[in-house]
Symmetry: C5
């Protein structure tokens, strides 16, 4: 099994390295890395990782700036990643962190690290243990922050 | 006939279990379940249920958070589900509940339960008794709340 | 020639029946009806009417609620109907009425009735007399309300 | 060479006639006209002009009303025209005029006339003299109003 | 290796010439230029450069006006460029400059020049030295302004 890792030079954290470390620590998987300038370059990178490099799943890692134009770029990138999945019948897990999600650089870096690692674990489950996800259905899982858990009745 | 059930670990209610229970109670149908992390992972799951698992219809079950980013994710997921249907000529019934649709956790859980079950009944009609839907055309049906009924003249 | 009629149980007027009546009154055309729960189910219904039932054109009939989520759903449905047309090279005439277009139920029902019938006449022209549309080019035609006419110079 | 001319009965100016007149006055080109009810019907008309009528380029001519729903329709039509171009590798020049671009009917009519004619000239250049466009690259050309010209340094 | 250069007559700077100069100065690459009227014409131009002219990558160069309609056009063009990439498995680097990104014409021209050149260098890396991009992953690179660098911890 091979996991494609697409990340950007725009991001302010080496997200690809974090993802690869977490994947290797938890499973025996090959990885293929592809770094592009910005998040709008991620979808075609993901598609090439799947179709030209034989990846079974891709992590698309990116950071999103604070301006309305940045938000629009993220939306366009997300729609591109959606198309990639439907054109290839292959999961492409989007790991986007918005710069305005955290109060300062330190908290932002921690959020990037945590969300990337937790999505890496999801990738392992999707590839190797999909039944574990069924067991967690409806549990209010969150990547990067505390899980909110199921609704209290 | 086989119904694909795609749901998420992000949701705060086990929507897949509710859908399967309601389907089994009302019809003799096989089901295939596929749980993914979040709603943006649902479209490719739905497509794989149709193309790789032979499902005749899919229920795409998810909850949507309260932030603008959550709303954008729901929009992207909806566009993905639209594409899945047009690529496969197969209905994929979207059952999304927004967290801000209810005042508290209890009411939200009830809404999730009711809407999921009512859409499960729609799935049965689409598969087995499409003429029943024609009879209800224009009747102001709603899933999860009271039907509003036809316009009063 | 066969006209596909796709409508919904969500609508509060039996739009499919109105469309069929108007079509039959004005032309000799066969119709095929397909009722689905909501407007986001219309695109795949339209595509199936074209590809599986051999329809030469489709009317996609629906009502749109008052909330922002309803408006987003309409946008997604419209994009889906756009894709259906481009995938099939077949017109799919969208007849959507927004609940907030009229002041009360009676006026809304009249609007639904009038717009549906006027679009049915457009469907007949597109299928049987396209040159009549060329004659009306730039005439400020409106469906459901009074025509605004060409610009006054 | 054949130019497809798609326009609408919704528009308040006979845009198709203006476009054809300007094309004929400036070049020896055949035209094929296709009038549809509204701008959301233009993309499939454009695709049919290209694929079924053998047009080498299409002008998609329409007017956009003042309401938010009108603006959304224009956006959906534009996305459709984008898809047509990518599905056919053929330019489809969008000539949309928003009703709120001018202060009164007379100025609006003049704007429609001017923009349509200037886009007709662009169509001729794209088909017959593409190198003329390269010469104008970065010159701040505008269709319908005065050119803004290159940035002043 | 051949780089497609798509630009517009709408822009107020000769972006294509700048891109070609920077590419030629830094690498031995052939270029193919295609100028179109506006940014919404860029996607099909990019696709034709790839499929009909054999380009290995494309730079799509454009300027975006200040009005909401201009912003919507840019969004539509971006979605088109996304589709081109996924249909061709080929990078199409979008270089858009918004007129409201700078305070005056002089600063705007400098921004256009700088961003175009820096993206030209990215194009060279993507084509010839992709491993250099991996080395810069997460470094907070920006095109046109100062790099923001990695997060301070």
């Amino acid at each position: 099994m091979k996991v494609g890792i697409a990340d950007t030079t725009f991001a302010r954290v080496n997200m690809g390295a974090i993802a690869i470390e977490e994947l290797k620590r938890n499973a025996s998987l090959r990885t293929e890395r592809y770094t592009v300038p910005g998040i709008k370059d991620l979808p075609v990178a993901a598609k090439k990782l799947i179709e030209e490099q034989g990846c079974d799943i891709v992590m698309a890692l990116g950071m999103v700036g604070r301006t309305p134009t940045d938000k629009t770029c993220a939306h366009e990138a997300s729609l591109g990643l959606m198309s990639v999945q439907l054109m290839t019948n292959t999961h492409t897990i989007e790991v986007f962190i918005h710069e305005d999600e955290a109060e300062n650089d330190k908290m932002l870096a921690e959020l990037v690290d945590k969300r990337t690692r937790e999505h890496a674990l999801n990738v392992i489950k999707l590839l190797l243990e999909p039944k574990l996800l069924v067991k967690m259905a409806g549990m209010g899982e969150r990547q990067g922050g505390p899980d909110v858990g199921p609704l209290r009745l």
